[in-house]
């Protein structure tokens, strides 16, 4: 028998995410400096032993801010995926399981949402709701719903005609129980990989929306916001852009590798 190839995507992705998770968890309890404290003397100071990542244009410690900012970005991504994914799974489960006109209506609505570029759609929602962390979460969640709904729906469509569903029904299980106790665990692998991809998208979109100034509002640290603020000093103080950028890249890379790895695991 052929030896199974190691799933490097999964291992590396999981490693990266765990590393970032440790980084931001430490940031929740301990940062070298107060991330919002300004120090006029250390304005745009380069990386040194006292400020490992250097300082920004207000003399705030970049390491502390990247730690906090990663936390914010991660929080937004997590809640977005939980909210959007949860709703999407629910919609997908219902439409896939019951079919009929409910399916038609919800899926056409889905198509309508999908037909807009996601960033544009999120911008429209933000302009309706107003900027802010929680509104960004809401807007991004709405953008994420269709992809989750589709994946879940297709899984449920495939599973609902299986005999084990029939036997669960004739044991007297209710529709809800069949949907979430019997079918859902079977759909979990594809939903999980979708969640990893969703995380990836949410991180990038949160960063880009904060970059555009409609996401997380100052003085809260956010990776996207830091990138946009550092633009002016890109040549004189590149560390202001490099470190938050690296954090975004590592988060996105980690999630996307994890997603790929999960797809491979699921498809085995």
């Amino acid at each position: 028998m052929k030896r199974e190839k190691r799933n490097y995507n999964f291992i590396l992705g999981a490693g990266l995410i765990l590393f970032m998770l440790a980084f931001l968890l430490i940031g929740c309890f301990f940062t070298p400096y107060d991330p919002d404290a300004m120090d006029g003397g250390a304005k745009l100071a380069g990386p040194s032993l006292s400020h490992l990542f250097g300082c920004d244009h207000f003399g705030r410690d970049m390491l502390s801010r990247v730690m906090k900012g990663t936390g914010t970005t991660f929080f937004v991504a997590l809640t977005t995926v939980a909210l959007g994914g949860g709703l999407g799974i629910f919609i997908g489960a219902f439409t896939g399981y019951f079919g009929g006109w409910v399916d038609e209506v919800l899926m056409r609505f889905n198509d309508a949402v999908v037909s807009f570029p996601p960033i544009l759609l999120a911008l429209v929602f933000i302009s309706l709701l107003g900027p802010g962390k929680y509104n960004v979460i809401l807007a991004l969640a709405i953008v994420l719903i269709p992809s989750f709904a589709r994946i879940t729906r297709s899984e449920f469509l495939r599973q609902r005609e299986m005999d084990y569903v029939k036997s669960a029904r004739l044991m007297g299980a209710s529709h809800l129980r069949i949907m979430f106790v019997h079918i859902f665990p079977n759909a979990l692998s594809s939903v999980l990989s979708m969640a990893a991809i969703g995380f990836n998208n949410a991180v990038l979109m949160e960063a880009s929306m904060s970059y555009l100034g409609i996401g997380v509002q100052p003085p809260d640290a956010s990776l996207g916001r830091m990138l946009s603020e550092s633009q002016t000093y890109l040549l004189s103080a590149p560390w202001c852009a490099v470190f938050p950028g690296a954090a975004v890249i590592l988060l996105a890379l980690g999630f996307s590798m994890l997603g790929d790895g999960l797809v491979k695991k699921g498809g085995r």
Partner: protein, 270 residues
């Protein structure tokens, strides 16, 4: 009182154009503890008849007319809650494909317990005890070990036994078996048939046994219903139907069973 009585049952597929009748005026009845066989070729409507008893027809097909009485009460008059209580508790069903009729991501034990979980207020320990008992009764060995295993770790015959255990655990009065032995090899098939016979004797459970295999029907059933193109061709005691068939179709069907001697003779001649 009859255990099951089906009167003038008609089923049609209405999602094809024109709508197609697959079961046309089928009537039969079953006594308590009886083993009734339904035999017929593929597409003769036997599975649809069985599914309609539990109102499990696929979307796109429906009972267009007729009545089904379970213990004297019309199943059509049951509310959804009542129907859910009847399913699994009073009537259980096992399917042809033991590979797909078990949920791949749930353990054997939890799937056997499902019926108890849904229909009784037993404690988890009591449920486990009953599940293990049902597994033993279904002829499974090392039940404690099997309890925590997943379906893909079992062979086809074992899976079918698990299905039987899951059907037995709530002690239903009617077991509908839709070609339960078709996907199994001959020795396992014989074992499963013996098992069903035993269960029927021990619990007085009525079995509605559906098969296209006349030999299997003959081994198990006391009465048989021959179906063809959605109609009942012939009905009667097993020996009478097999030895003195009245209808042309039944004769043809019986003639289609290969006989060992005949084929030997032919081979010698050739």
């Amino acid at each position: 009182m009859k255990l099951l009585e089906v009167k003038d049952l008609n089923i049609e597929f209405y999602d094809v154009n024109p709508p197609q009748k697959v079961v046309k005026g089928v009537s039969f009845s079953m006594e308590k503890g009886e083993v009734l066989g339904i035999v017929g070729e593929s597409g003769s409507g036997k599975t649809q008849t069985a599914l309609s008893i539990l109102r499990l027809l696929k979307s796109g097909s429906q009972i267009s007319s007729g009545q089904i009485f379970f213990k004297g009460r019309d199943l059509a008059g049951y509310t959804r809650e009542e129907l859910q209580r009847v399913r699994g508790r009073k009537i259980a069903m096992i399917f042809q494909e033991p590979m797909t009729s078990l949920n791949p991501v749930l353990t054997v034990g939890s799937q056997i317990e499902e019926g108890l979980l849904l229909h009784t207020q037993l404690s988890p320990e009591e449920r486990k005890k009953r599940a293990l008992l049902a597994m033993e009764e279904a002829g499974l060995g090392e039940v404690k070990k099997l309890y925590g295993k997943y379906p893909h770790q079992l062979s086809g015959g074992m899976r079918q036994r698990v299905m039987i255990a899951a059907a037995l655990v709530t002690e239903p009065e009617l077991l509908i078996a839709d070609e339960p032995t078709t996907a199994l090899d001959v020795t396992v098939q014989a074992q499963i048939l013996e098992l069903l016979k035993e269960i029927n004797k021990k619990h007085g459970m009525g079995i509605l046994f559906i098969s296209h295999d006349l030999a299997v029907i003959r081994r198990l059933c006391s009465r048989v219903l021959v179906m063809n193109e959605g109609r009942v061709e012939e009905e009667g005691e097993i020996h009478k139907v097999f030895e003195q068939p009245e209808k042309e179709y039944t004769k043809k069907l019986l003639a289609a069973i290969p006989h060992r001697r005949e084929s030997l003779r032919k081979r010698r001649r050739g």
